[in-house]
Symmetry: C2
Subunit: 359 residues, 2 copies
């Protein structure tokens, strides 16, 4: 932690936007990507935050991702549409798709939008929350590169395939779930390896597919549910693949050109996503929804915790981190800080007040 | 197992239907309930199979459930509707709702239906599969009585709140996921208790909310994800509650009159459900979907297994059980067999051929 730089959100956002524009992203694409990356960095999901700008710079310059896409929306029925991303930054295509889903839901009660010809879109929760902020229930998913074993499998098959749901809650930030369908993300496995720290039980398997807590031998992630119940997490990963890839005719998890580590950064990966918005007005009505949500969250937050435990609703932890980071600054790792030419210490030369308060 | 009776599916179905009719269910309600119960019993989900007929008899006679409901469908937008179950057997209301969702999806690309004033609907997968059999992706969920702790909680909060998804696969039974959002169902906890067998890790907590594998002290179920990652399972249970109860203005998990074990079998429980159908024709198209599904399942089923393991797609195990049971008969526990006046041994007096082959 001590080597991370704490950066004021406004400064960080400006630097990321400039970097993306310099790499060839048009204004709309850069704005969308920055919005999604800052969503993740603000709430503490650093794996999907601004550090990805280094990667996006590479794929924009390599040609895999089209910085000046012609994104098109084709309505296919009263409640469905297909967004063709034209190989855009996935964030751009996904925000267009969620906006489309919300519009469809306003007219037809629910809106479902498939995205084709897209690319890595960062954190799925960035899009689900847009629906919640528009007063709707939101859902967003994508498939991704194979890094998770099947139940009783020995090799990577599914991606960490996220499922993100969000719902409005009056007077506070949305209820927000943004979960990988593996127990832990790949980055955490790599971190434990580099630190030599024992893995939690049931999160990884070795070369032979046997569960291991030894970071040296952990090779592939296990689905949510661990050794005994990973068939559930694997099936949920399959839901992401069904909706994002199979329904859209896009690339299956195991067929992706590697996101990183391969030698091809010029061929588009033809990634699909799926976004959904549901309008409470077409069910029990907005007032009923808000009353139910308030009663549910009050009951949940007052439920008795185990010794030393704390009970939180999905999103509570993330919004708390956001409030802290808006004051203290957002931590940025050294490689990303160097890439963005950020000051190297919290009280460094950029001298923004929020950075200084964090020193 | 030795005390269970193996019963030919046709005989079992007829006896269950007669029992429900005798308890006051109209023909449509009885037919729907039998269909859902036989779905579960045929594929091996015995907890949600024909044994529930004893319970339904009680609630039909008690008045909690209305045997002669006037179920109404109100379309609220191009892609949404509300089904008022009039306190019917939940199976009846849920089948009406899924049929409605499929019709909406045919017109509008996706159809979402909320069910209000319903009751226990058995296995969620019974409804998701209907969409798959109509060539669509199906989703079904409900909330249910509190039996599962929150992450770091010490008392029951959510129900086992199932999420069921199904998708068509050409030339074979549907891809089918029907999962509780707890690691194990309550029945399995009770079974381990009665057998005195150690619990798997991460499936239950004791009185103080501490994880335990001691069946004597296991009191409340843990969400999927076990001790370390139960926040994911708890949030997924919340998704079921959001869609089934909060969106529909129906009863929250912790507010239900107990399904069993209380003294009130006359007051309706005002349970909600949520059903969804998605038409592949409005996305990549049916041919694209089927080709993707075939490629996905072929890759999955040929993925290398760990030593002694076997890799299955969701539903593969269930359809295999169904094929076996159609030949060998369906096992029925002694209490249910007595209630249904079934023969007490596989080669008993009812003498149906399929029963005899199972002897």
């Amino acid at each position: 932690m001590s080597v991370q730089t704490l950066v004021a959100p406004d400064l960080l956002q400006a630097r990321v936007e400039t970097a993306l524009r310099n790499a060839g992203a048009c204004e709309a694409s850069a704005t969308a990507a920055v919005r999604a990356l800052m969503h993740a960095s603000r709430i503490g999901v650093d794996s999907h935050g601004v550090r990805l700008v280094v990667h996006y710079d590479k794929v924009l310059r390599g040609g895999r991702v089209n910085g000046t896409p012609n994104i098109t929306v084709r309505k296919t029925a009263a409640a469905t549409a297909i967004v063709d991303g034209d190989n855009a930054l996935g964030h751009h295509a996904a925000y267009v798709a969620m906006d489309t889903a919300i519009g469809l839901a306003r007219d037809s009660g629910i809106g479902a939008v498939g995205v084709i010809n897209s690319s890595h879109f960062g954190a799925a929760g960035a899009y689900a929350r847009v629906a919640a902020e528009a007063g709707m229930i939101g859902f967003a998913t994508t498939n991704s590169d194979s890094v998770v074993a099947l139940f009783q499998g020995r090799e990577a098959f599914h991606g960490t395939n996220p499922l993100a749901f969000a719902a409005p809650s009056v007077g506070e930030k949305p209820w927000l779930l943004d979960m990988a369908t593996s127990s832990i993300p790949l980055n955490r496995l790599l971190l434990y390896k580099s630190l030599g720290v024992q893995l939690p039980q049931g999160v990884a398997v070795d070369e032979a597919g046997a569960p291991t807590t030894d970071p040296a031998s952990g090779k592939t992630l296990l689905p949510l549910g661990g050794v005994d119940f990973a068939f559930k997490g694997a099936a949920l990963a399959g839901v992401a693949t069904l909706l994002s890839a199979i329904l859209q005719g896009m690339t299956l998890d195991h067929a992706f050109i590697p996101m990183v580590g391969g030698d091809d950064y010029s061929t588009p990966r033809q990634m699909g996503h799926f976004l959904l918005a549901i309008d409470p007005d077409r069910f029990g009505g907005r007032d009923v929804f808000h009353a139910g949500m308030a009663a549910y969250l009050a009951a949940l937050r007052s439920a008795p915790a185990q010794e030393g435990g704390e009970i939180l609703a999905p999103g509570d932890r993330e919004w708390r981190v956001e409030a802290e980071r808006l004051v203290a600054g957002i931590p940025v790792d050294p490689d990303t800080a160097a890439f963005l030419e950020l000051p190297r210490s919290p009280a460094g030369p950029a001298g923004h007040s929020k950075e200084n308060t964090a020193a």
